[in-house]
């Protein structure tokens, strides 16, 4: 666990640096409230509606595919590290796995899951 302690310290320090930068300036910077000034930017016009609406995210299926592929990559890393030890067996096993994924990927591609516009 000792190796991870420096990481935690670094994160703390980085966070502290950020927070200090954000808040210390507050001592010197001006602060004048103005209704128009603190309205949301919409090219200088009053906004039509609240921005928190249901929004059509069309790349939803790509996002699902992404989850699959990212998991696949997580599998690949330990395999790559241990590649020297597992030899032909490891190569064939991973290739089977990859081929199944590639077939799935090609199927999705042909089905048009990547054409979401």
């Amino acid at each position: 666990m000792n190796e991870y302690l420096p990481v935690a310290i670094l994160m703390l320090i980085a966070g502290a640096v950020g927070a200090i930068m954000m808040f210390v300036g507050g001592l010197i910077r001006p602060k004048k409230y103005d209704k128009v000034k603190s309205s949301v930017y919409e090219c200088g016009m009053p906004e039509f509606s609240d921005a928190r609406k249901r929004y059509n995210v069309r790349f939803y299926i790509v996002a699902l595919l992404f989850v699959l592929f990212d998991v696949e990559i997580v599998f690949l890393y330990p395999w790559a590290v241990a590649f020297g030890d597992i030899g032909l067996y490891g190569l064939v096993a991973m290739f089977l796995f990859l081929i199944i994924l590639v077939i799935g990927f090609l199927y999705e591609w042909k089905k048009g899951a990547l054409e979401w516009v």
Binding site: E42, C43, G44, M45, E47, F48, S49, A51, K53, R54, Y55, N56, V57, R58, V117
Partner: protein, 395 residues
Amino acid sequence: MQNMNNNVAEIVTVNMGPQHPSTHGVLRLVVDLDGETIVNVTPDVGYLHRGTEKLAENRTYHQFIPLTDRLDYLSPLSNNLAYCLAVEKFFGVKIPERADYMRVIYAELARVASHLVWIATHALDIGAMTVFLYAFRERERVLDMFECATGQRMTSSWIRIGGVRADAPEEFFKLAKDFVDEFDGFVDLYENLLTNNRIWKMRTIGIGMLNADDAQDYGTSGPLMRGAGIDFDLRRDEPYCCYDKFQFEIPTQPEGDTYARYKVRMKELREANKIVAQALENLPEGPIMTDDPRVAMPAHEDVYERMESLIRRFYLISKGFRPPKGETYQGIEAPKGELGFYIVSEGEERPYRLKIRAPSYVNLGVLNHMAQGHMLADLVAIIGTNDVVLGEIDR
């Protein structure tokens, strides 16, 4: 909560402009978005309205010239030219040849300047920042030339009814010759950065489709129309000044997309340059202002020595001239398309009505048609390819 069960996504309405980096001035677009796909675009114009047409009714014909500068402020000399040609049509004034040549030189240089701003901003909108600065470097030289010849970089008001205000100094011709010689190289430079650039092609090919029928139905003109494959150019088809004396091509592209219009304008840059080169070469000697007493000021020497000239000058300055009763229309091929002035005269010193057919205004009308179904990112490309100038739209 009612929406929970239906699949129809909400349409989000967004203001784009007037304070937006790529709406080229104060154009406001109300954009209906489905995701990032454009459902509908409504241009909302008028933020730069100055009442130019109304102002014309209270000014003498001569006094209106400076206001034309402020229409398409990227090519003021083209506007001067269109207006002056329209007024001259009332009288049937014969313009000296040298003045005609100078007008052609100015108008084509204005086209170069205007198209340079177009390529600069169009490329910048799509994200190619460097082209912007290269094009502005060359535009700077054109403006320097205008400054040398007219004393003003932008609002020059140099083309007058009956000719041009004064002859250009020697230095102008030197600057112009150097520029003309080098200019093709500059266009090559921009084309190197863009024409075969894959990302540029991805962003422009198939974007903002406008076929020949729609281009005609919407009344578009200029590069927008020639990019849709319609071979029409007022300089060739209804020649004014002395364009019939020059050799030049009218570039057209049949595809009708943003890339086609890009190619058309790039070729137009080269053609405009060719015309300037020819005009500089064959520039005749002679006066640059007509001696037609109905519109032209008497020469300065005469004013000092002859009573009649003095009176005439005084009259022209204080009262202006009276065109005959009637109406006239003159269109020219401005950088953005057909720029026309329609003037109704009641025989007064001031026009009864003056209507400007601004190419940008008409071209903007086709924006919704071009943008529907594309993405928000394409909208800026489409505004860019439309090449609108708000000074002209709002008048």
